[in-house]
Symmetry: C2
Subunit: 344 residues, 2 copies
């Protein structure tokens, strides 16, 4: 039925109904110490009866929490981020937090502006979940200075809770798969798009690629290192550029599946295909990868977002207690399909 537009119950109403002061009510509601069981029960009853929910604005203003948590992502449309965001949002919602979505839209200027006013952000949210954001030293410092609780996905060696995969190792495994098939002339489609803020994940994967080559006494040809971004379009552009203006390698490591999809599109455009003309491997195990026969390294996505979100909330719940930052590494797995094959 259409709910009447009755004004919300305030803490005053709960106090009146329970016969206690608003101060005691406030404490009881937040499960603070020094509240008798009896008082606690009366307050809970009254609050339930009134459907009371504290005003986030008032609470915030008086020094309490905002009831909101921010998720900062390089972009919200990429496969990985859309899923991580939704998983984290679910965790936040289940804990009663609103989630404020901030997409950097792959623009350095947006990141600059955001980190230039962290004080403003800290006024509007209780904590921040960072998804694969490459931070400069000053930005790290600013974040620390803001006092905002932080957790992240895909960012290692960082002074807060993080969960991710071992990107370098995953990239190394992927590259080794290529090397194991007899390919030694390898290209990498990874890194950020030109002009976009770098994504940590990308540089770690590049490192894994380089390491695998080095371990086989191979050097990476700078001509075969393409900044592709993690989008289908980025992959397509980079692949086209590679074939038309550099040279065709024998195999390609794409930094993520979407980049690989784009590369497949470019190949088709040029009348080529994988694995016939070139072997190609990605990272992600996107739903389409099976269909396209893309060999890839699978990684859990929603798990990473949800896990990190939970870490942030736990930290919020016991702020004050000593609690050294933790780091969690989730597993990846090679999924062989038919976009890679032995060098002929």
């Amino acid at each position: 039925m259409p709910q009447a537009k009755t004004p919300r119950a305030t803490i005053q109403d709960v106090a009146a109904l329970s016969g206690l002061s608003i101060c005691t009510v406030s404490r009881a509601l937040r499960h603070l110490p020094n509240v008798s069981e009896q008082a606690q029960a009366r307050v809970s009853d009254a609050a339930a009866k009134l459907g009371y929910r504290a005003s986030s604005a008032a609470s915030r203003l008086a020094g309490g929490s905002t009831g909101s948590l921010a998720i900062i992502a390089p972009t919200a449309t990429a496969w990985f981020f859309a899923r991580a965001v939704e998983a984290a949002e679910e965790v936040f919602a289940d804990s009663g937090y609103d989630t404020v979505l901030i997409s950097l839209r792959n623009q350095p200027s947006v990141q600059r502006k955001l980190f230039g006013d962290l004080a403003g952000l800290s006024q509007r949210v209780d904590g921040v979940l960072l998804l694969n954001i490459a931070l400069s030293e000053p930005e790290m410092a600013a974040l620390a200075g803001s006092g905002l609780p932080v957790a992240s996905v895909g960012m290692h060696d960082v002074p807060w809770d993080n969960v991710g995969i071992d990107n370098e190792e995953a990239a190394r495994t992927a590259t080794n798969h290529l090397l194991g098939l007899g390919h030694w002339d390898l290209a990498i489609l990874a890194g950020s798009e030109t002009g976009a803020p770098s994504v940590v994940t990308a540089s770690e994967r590049l490192r894994g690629f380089e390491r695998a080559l080095a371990e086989h006494d191979l050097t990476v040809d700078p001509d075969l290192v393409m900044a592709a971004g993690s989008s289908i379009e980025g992959g397509r552009l980079a692949m086209t550029e590679l074939v038309e203006n550099r040279r065709m390698p024998s195999a390609i490591f794409a930094g993520c599946d979407e980049t690989a999809f784009g590369a497949l599109m470019a190949l088709r455009d040029l009348g080529l295909s994988a694995p016939k003309n070139v072997s190609i491997i990605g990272i992600d195990d996107h739903q389409m990868s099976w269909y396209l026969g893309l060999t890839t390294m699978s990684q859990p996505v929603a798990d990473q977002g949800a896990f990190a979100a939970n870490l942030l909330i736990e930290r919020l719940h016991r702020s004050g207690l000593p609690n050294p930052p933790s780091s969690h590494v989730l597993d990846t797995k090679l999924v062989e399909r038919k976009s890679t094959r032995r060098r002929r």
Copy 2:
């Protein structure tokens, strides 16, 4: 450089620096009438010098705005929604609003809970952007009762600003394309997933499909109407079910490209393919559709999200003024590729 943890400037600081009362400052900052040009300038200067930004909590509590806008989406991971969300978020951010992302995660319970406490929501945001949400009568009433300004994408005949495509017409065009190729035994993979809240878009597309058939004196076979949801997985499941437990039609209209992708996957699984064994058409023109040769109806996505977001903001800016709800229909276009062909 690491910014010192200085407390934020308050309206008091601006008042002191500009030599005016906080009351005048408040008015000047919000560009309210009755402020002399001189005062306006002094306040603007002082605010800029101090990097002042009103406390959203205080502002909200005192009866002002929250500075936040909500985006409510059936899910945040689907291709369409991820893009619409990011486009709207950009518009909101550029106007100085935080965006609160609320994903229904395809769960009716989440929607129920949300609409059961719209009073709570209206306390936390200044307005709401609805993306293809199917609302019940009570929910519509509750929304109206909440007093929240609303705008939407993909929802027609609604008492607020909306922008969308003509889903029925797009579906009709798609279906006619199939009929024009000589197919008359058509299946549709659309609608919501079983148990999920229905998406308006889906039922409108179903209607367009039915209408096209009716216009050709054909009736729809209930056995060939599958609820597939708008995900790759949903399309795969529905297509498998269709072939294994119903029967193979001569052509298929998929409610969106992702559903079509899933159908293509299912076909491959069964040793079949399009257009050889069945013609298939989608709606969206997803980046992968070109690669997969999927015939589809293209629609502008980011445009819809951004347009609707702008309408919401405009309405917020001139609340009070008479302003009848507007409805905007964006164009779709048939993109013929090779997943459809003439019936043999």
